[in-house]
């Protein structure tokens, strides 16, 4: 018999040929690569191209830039540390003890996420600022909230939900079986915690810490409101753009913000590819409960979650107070409540709510659609450039929000052409740039959600559709979409909420015509109009809570946005 060595058909040409034989796949790939190329890779490159040798030299020689950078790093480290530690204790109390009202406290953990983060900073000013209710008016002392303490406290509260989500997911993923096995072997109380729970949760806690750190690094609104003379890099970059129109310098500052997050991202990706013991699961056995705490520790937990909840309510409470208190009377030391200010603010800013609603809805849907598309391609199809697509889809999570914002401003000021062919009209000052940048920012969430959705669908179900004559497009519309609908809706709603409260990511591209409610909160607070800013915050929160309620009502509780 003649032995010919047959090789596997693979590599670029074969993949390309497979792609070409399916037009609907080809179209989807074209859309995916166009989106990623135009709105992720190109802006990144464009921003880098705006830096010059001189701006880099400036950055490293001028004290102001280096100092701001150092301050950004250490204030972010502090905030990340406290937010993660507090969130860990909170999540642990909820997942590991028999405290009362778990559901309620779980929901409370998300509260700071349901309003623009500047609400927290504003609340601190209202409580402890020059004219603060708690300090100046009620107690009669003055504390210095501006500077590092203010930023630290505000970011700790504002980023608490982000850390909580990550940590509670990890704690839930640890199988009670393991702990029960350990208890069975004689480990108890703190020993169990130290030898089993903590090591298993450590990777998740670390990644929560890094996530908060990255986000704190690029946070704009709170450092701007509370920083005072303590200037951080994003605030500085904003000043450089609005004051001196020095885009090159701002680009350099932003690029420096990217370095730590990119390093973290790459290291994490490397570790993930090596091993993943974050996903130590095993099926939770029904009826098994882990009770790893004594009565005393449980009371402490209950008190702790109560105190955190009280803090959050205080933040919201003071903002509501300012939203409905008459500012003139307050200045004179009297508390008069009226709806007049609130209604005036609402009327005057109605268009920003309309804009917010349009932009956040469109961005929420766009991010989920593109995320779904990319997840489908990545988990189900073979094509050239797959790795690039995957990398680009999670990259926006790593890009500092202010970096992305500046990159978009620099990239889409003019019509884009490829040689003589126009490919994209000028986007700045249009609603599209607002929608697209928010969608890009949220893309990793939509993508990850969809990916995990696909993992849960047996591949053979889609193959069965193909086998019965459905092409790729038809398979998606008739099989994949209906099956992923709950995941899709919850990610779209989540993205909608994030877009409603975003400030940092749109700070460079927002224009008066397309101004949005979350920006008004920040800008009014920055100008000292706390009543208006408070009213706007309360209204945004109401809209978000209303949306959550509506989703819950329409899906009869089946679609959970936060879980």
């Amino acid at each position: 018999m003649v032995q010919t060595q047959v090789k596997e058909r693979k590599g670029f040409l074969n993949q390309a040929r497979n792609v070409l034989s399916d037009p609907s796949l080809l179209i989807m790939l074209a859309i995916a690569f166009a989106f990623v190329g135009l709105f992720i890779i190109y802006p990144l490159a464009k921003l880098m191209a705006n830096t010059t040798l001189e701006t880099w030299r400036n950055f490293f020689t001028k004290m102001a830039y280096r100092r701001a950078y150092a301050r950004t790093v250490y204030s972010s480290l502090l905030s990340a540390f406290t937010a993660t530690a507090l969130a860990f204790l909170y999540a642990y109390s909820i997942e590991y003890t028999e405290i009362k009202f778990k559901k309620f406290f779980r929901f409370i953990a998300f509260l700071p996420m349901l309003a623009p983060s500047s609400m927290t900073g504003m609340a601190l000013i209202m409580l402890f600022g020059r004219n603060g209710l708690l300090t100046t008016k009620l107690i009669g002392v003055e504390v210095e909230i501006y500077g590092l303490p203010g930023i630290w406290l505000a970011q700790t509260i504002a980023f608490f939900p982000m850390a909580f989500v990550a940590i509670s997911a990890v704690l839930r993923a640890i199988s009670p079986n393991i702990e029960i096995a350990a208890q069975n072997l004689g480990a108890k109380g703190t020993e169990l915690f130290r030898t089993v729970t903590l090591p298993l949760a450590a990777p998740g806690v670390l990644s929560a810490f890094l996530l908060v750190f990255i986000n704190a690094m690029s946070d704009f609104a709170n450092p701007k409101l509370l920083g005072g003379l303590f200037v951080t890099s994003p605030v500085q970059a904003y000043g450089v753009v609005t004051g001196d129109a020095d885009f090159g310098m701002a680009a350099t500052i932003s690029a420096m913000l990217l370095i730590p997050s990119l390093a973290i991202f790459l290291i994490q990706a490397y570790i993930m590819s090596k091993k993943s013991y974050v996903t130590v699961t095993g099926k939770p056995v029904a009826g098994l409960k882990r009770i790893t705490m004594g009565k005393g520790a449980e009371i402490v937990s209950q008190v702790y979650v109560f105190l955190v909840a009280a803090l959050f309510f205080m933040v919201i409470g003071i903002v509501a107070f300012f939203a409905f208190a008459d500012p003139k009377a307050y200045y004179l030391g009297k508390f008069v409540f009226t709806l007049k200010g609130f209604t005036e603010t609402m009327t005057f800013n109605a268009y920003t709510f309309r804009n917010s609603a349009i932009i956040a809805t469109a961005a929420g849907i766009l991010a989920s659609v593109v995320g779904l598309l990319l997840a489908f391609l990545n988990s189900r199809k073979d094509f050239p450039g797959k790795k690039i697509l995957d990398f680009s889809a999670i990259l926006p999570n790593t890009l500092p929000a202010t970096f992305l914002s500046l990159a978009f401003l620099l990239s889409f000021q003019r019509m884009l052409t490829l040689g003589p062919i126009p490919i994209l009209p000028k986007l700045t000052k249009t609603i599209f740039i607002m929608i697209i940048i928010q969608a890009v920012r949220q893309l990793p969430i939509g993508y990850r959600n969809a990916l995990s959705g696909f993992k849960q669908i047996d591949k053979s179900i889609e193959e069965a559709a193909t086998n019965l004559g459905a092409n790729v497009g038809k398979t998606i519309s008739s099989i994949v979409l209906p099956m992923l609908r709950p995941a899709f809706i919850s990610s779209a709603v989540y993205n909608f909420i994030s877009a409603m409260i975003a400030v940092s990511v749109i700070i460079f591209v927002v224009t008066p015509q397309w101004n949005v409610a979350s920006i008004v909160v920040y800008s009014r607070a920055d100008s000292g109009y706390y009543s208006e800013a408070g009213a706007m915050s309360i209204a945004i929160m109401a809209i978000i809570l209303g949306t959550l309620w509506l989703v819950n009502f329409l899906s009869r509780g089946r679609i959970k946005v936060f879980d």
């Binding site: 047959v6 596997e8 034989s21 053979s460 193959e463 069965a464 559709a465 019965l468 004559g469 092409n471």
Partner: protein, 361 residues
């Protein structure tokens, strides 16, 4: 090259199929054709490439070498959704968000058939599979066996000349498996379509098939009817894989058209389909039920007779199975039907001349 006539003979023809995953050659030069209306079984041990070949026919894999022809057309470049090769998946793969009726109607709706026609064809398929009363249920309200039927209905409703089935019974319990087996075979006869059925269960293959294709490590060992592969295996692997067999090996002597072999000082003769010369290496495959075991020496000269020691005798329902050792230390497996007692101690086995099947390797 064979002409057009050759192409028309087979409904499905595989020519020199190769499939490689990484460095793992999973299918190696597969050449075989199947006629219309046949019940074909792909049989082989786990991991030998049966599923891979079936999926290559369905278009989920593109072969790395060779051609797939269906109904006179070359299809290996055609994407899976254009092949009309309906398949029953091992995991059933029903669409969980559609009810039974819509699951079965799915493929017809894609063809944009008129509503009336879809309805009547779905009804017909559900009747054939006895699932008509469940048409409004959702898949998760069905038992495994019922889901299986829906999966079959969803495939046969396509009215393709071909139906591919990948171990469709493996998730059912043993009892149910046997009855569904019979039903499937009847369904195939009734529809007169070509079924390609993947299994690693040799008794299933023997019971159902017109043609069995025996695979081993990505190659075809033998293609033949159940009788052929059972009684006339062409390789030791086939003889060993299908049923139980005893093997003796050695240099062949050819005498009067039959092949002779020395074992334990006795001369064995056997029948073969291959050509033998003196001195060729021959393997004799002797089925346990072809051997008789007795307390006295054999009476016929034509039979090979060996003194043995009985190691073990087991009563297993319709027969007694013995394991015995001959004088050169080889173990034999022997089945005795119609017996009321289990023998022990020393005994003799005798093998009639035409019962040994000779394999050339």
């Amino acid at each position: 090259m064979q002409g057009v006539a050759h192409v028309n003979k087979y409904l499905i023809e595989l020519k020199g199929i190769h499939k490689v995953f990484g460095t793992n050659a999973v299918l190696n030069d597969i050449n075989v054709g199947f006629e219309e209306g046949c019940f074909v079984t792909f049989l082989g041990p786990s991991g030998c490439g049966k599923t891979t070949l079936l999926r290559t026919i369905a278009g989920f894999y593109r072969p790395d070498g060779g051609e797939v022809w269906i109904d006179g057309k070359r299809v290996d470049m055609l994407p899976a959704h254009k092949r009309n090769t309906p398949m029953v998946f091992q995991e059933y793969a029903l669409f969980p968000h559609l009810n039974v009726f819509d699951n079965v109607a799915y493929g017809l709706r894609l063809q944009k058939l008129p509503r009336k026609e879809i309805e009547s064809r779905v009804r017909e398929a559900l009747d054939l599979t006895n699932m008509a009363q469940f048409k409004d249920r959702s898949p998760n309200q069905l038992s495994g066996g019922q889901q299986q039927r829906v999966a079959i209905a969803r495939a046969i409703v396509m009215q393709s000349k071909i139906l591919l089935l990948d171990e469709p019974l493996s998730n059912l319990d043993a009892k149910l498996r046997e009855s569904v087996r019979v039903e499937l075979r009847m369904l195939q006869r009734q529809l007169n379509r070509t079924f390609i059925y993947v299994t690693h269960d040799q008794s299933e293959a023997l019971a159902m098939s017109d043609v069995i294709v025996v695979f081993n490590k990505g190659r075809i060992e033998q293609v033949g009817s159940p009788m052929e592969v059972y009684f006339k295996p062409v390789t030791k692997f086939v003889a060993d894989f299908i049923g139980v067999s005893n093997f003796i090996e050695g240099k062949a002597r050819v005498k009067d058209g039959s092949v002779m072999l020395e074992h334990a000082g006795r001369s064995f003769s056997g029948l073969t389909t291959s050509d033998f010369k003196d001195g060729d290496h021959a393997i004799f495959s002797i089925r346990p039920e072809s051997i008789t075991l007795g307390k006295s020496e054999c009476t016929f000269d034509s039979q090979a007779c060996l003194p043995v020691r009985i190691l073990q005798g087991m009563f297993i329902g319709e027969k007694v199975r013995y394991v015995v050792k001959d004088q050169v230390g080889m173990d034999w497996v022997i089945d005795q039907h119609d017996t009321q007692e289990v023998l022990t101690g020393d005994a003799y086995i005798s093998i009639p001349p035409d019962k040994a099947h000779v394999i050339k390797e």
